[in-house]
């Protein structure tokens, strides 16, 4: 009787050990497997960013893109040339936009206007927009901070 009791306790212990070990393996492997699966968001590169394909941008338009944690603006001139600037207005950090009618970069907050070289030409902005370098590699457009 005692013997039987003892052996059932032993079995029980073995079960716990077995399941515990299994649980432990899972609790170690689960994070590792989740870690190995790459996240959907492409890796954030702050120095340069892929904005899109040449065909996505019509001449005479401007597009806001995310550059690190600040917005940038990519402008395609009517000549087809690309230019990129920081889209943060130098006056009060609003996001600037391209105005087709003005052929200029315009800030909606206080009507600040920059020309297509990023120079502040009217309104309150005290400084030109920071210029970025545009690299067209094949069909794809990259914007990088070194200008």
């Amino acid at each position: 009787m005692v013997q039987e009791h003892r052996s059932s306790r032993r079995n029980f212990l073995n079960y716990i050990l077995g399941f515990g070990f299994l649980g432990w393996i899972i609790s170690v492997l689960y994070p590792i497997i989740r870690y190995i699966i790459p996240p959907k968001i492409p890796e954030a590169k702050v120095k340069s960013v892929k904005v899109g394909k040449v065909g996505d941008f019509n001449p005479g338009t401007g597009t806001i893109f995310k550059f690190g944690n600040k917005p940038g603006i990519l402008i395609r001139l009517e000549t087809g040339e690309f230019r990129a600037f920081s889209a943060v207005c130098t006056h009060l950090d609003c996001t600037v936009q391209y105005r087709e009618d003005m052929k200029a970069i315009w800030c909606a907050c206080h009507n600040g206007v920059y020309d297509l070289n990023g120079r502040n030409i009217s309104g309150p902005p005290p400084r030109p927009l920071e210029a970025f370098r545009v690299i067209v590699r094949g069909d794809e457009i990259y914007v990088s901070k070194e200008g």
């Binding site: 432990w24 994070p31 590792i32 989740r34 870690y35 190995i36 699966i37 790459p38 996240p39 968001i41 890796e43 954030a44 590169k45 702050v46 120095k47």
Partner: protein, 360 residues
């Protein structure tokens, strides 16, 4: 099922004669006495090293070395990758705990005089592993390329420059240039993930091989005991299970530390920014750093800093060679001097570390 296992075992045994090895292992035993607890710290260090290898490999999946990508990729790991924060925190915490475990392991071996004949080379390889671990820590600290790491590395490597004649050249070699830059980062990365792991694994293998061949050291007092009074427990499964138990507890501690005290990433390093206040190396270098700080600019007619480096180098070499000049213990006498030296070293290191934290 059992039959399959048996067949598999036979298949291997036929080819690799593992039965002999099992036989050897089952007869292996570990002495049991009031200082037995210290036997476990070698195993703990090993376990933490294994964790370092696993988490390190995992980090390598996303880490990209470079002035413009190191910080960003670590930030990416901790914020965007699922459980990335956990992997990084465990890697950092486990590194620190490993150094701590290695130190405890070393001092316990020292005070129990387990280094004595015939284990001199086990001690020497162990000491080399300690140095390698410290180098691991130093090189790994820079890799996130954050402000603290940048300046700590700058201050840390500057000491090399104090060596006369070759200091300047050596500094350039270590930094990959005159200053701590992206070149330093690449160097440290290479060191951390390729060179050190290679050397470490070889020496670790030798170290473990020595331990396996010679078994655990018995305390010197046992030599006077009659054999029947010496107690042993079998290595397998008793000792190994205890090891496992401790490992699991350590793993638990690591998980708690990683979740409740996640390792801060801080600000990105800016070489042109002024050094933030309170730049300190990691705690395990603090006693050396503090000593160098307290030294006068000139000792005799050598530069204070170089004097410090010289003293630490000589002390380190003497420490490594302890089994060779401690002739008394080898002959079976008690060598109190060794205890005093060890105690002095231990107290010195602790005091200087505390001073390093208190004086800033």
């Amino acid at each position: 099922m059992a039959k399959f296992g048996e067949r598999l075992f036979n298949w291997f045994d036929e080819r690799y004669k593992i039965r002999g090895f099992i036989e050897f292992m089952s007869h292996k035993s570990v002495p049991q006495h009031r200082h037995s607890i210290w036997y476990y710290f070698g195993g703990v260090s090993l376990f933490l090293f294994i964790i370092q290898v696993v988490t390190g490999i995992l980090l390598l999946l996303y880490y990209r070395v470079g002035e413009d990508s190191s910080y960003e990729s670590v930030q990416f790991i901790v914020s965007k990758v699922k459980f990335g924060w956990l992997i990084r925190s465990i890697h950092s915490w486990s590194a620190n705990l490993m150094i701590l475990a290695v130190f405890i392991h070393m001092f316990s071996v020292y005070f129990t005089k387990a280094y004595r004949k015939p284990r001199e080379l086990t001690w020497v390889t162990g000491f080399l592993l300690l140095i390698l671990s410290l180098t691991f820590g130093f090189s790994g600290y820079l890799l996130p390329w954050n402000e603290l790491a940048f300046f700590a590395t700058k201050v840390g490597t500057e000491i090399i420059g104090s060596i006369p004649v070759i200091g300047k050249e050596l500094l350039i070699i270590v930094r990959g240039g005159e200053d701590v830059t992206g070149a330093t980062l690449s160097r440290f990365f290479g060191l951390h993930v390729a060179i050190l792991p290679g050397i470490f694994t070889v020496i670790l293998f030798i170290h473990l091989l020595f331990v396996q061949i010679q078994g655990m050291s018995e305390p010197p007092e046992w030599e006077k005991l009659p054999p029947e009074k010496r107690k042993y427990i079998p290595f397998f499964p008793n000792f190994l299970l205890r090891d496992l138990l401790l490992w699991l507890i350590i793993l638990n501690i690591l998980a708690v530390l990683a979740v409740f005290f996640p390792w801060d990433l801080g600000k990105k390093a800016d070489p042109f920014a002024p050094a933030p206040a309170g730049i300190k190396p990691e705690w395990y270098f603090l006693f050396m750093y503090q000593t160098l700080k307290l030294l006068p600019p000139k000792v005799l007619f050598i530069e204070g800093e170089f004097f410090g480096v010289l003293i630490f180098t000589v002390a380190g070499i003497l420490w490594m060679l302890v089994p060779f000049w401690d002739v008394k213990t080898e002959k079976g006498y008690r060598n109190r001097l060794i205890n005093y030296i060890g105690l002095f070293v231990l107290i010195y290191m602790i005091t200087m570390t505390i001073l390093g934290y208190a004086l800033s």
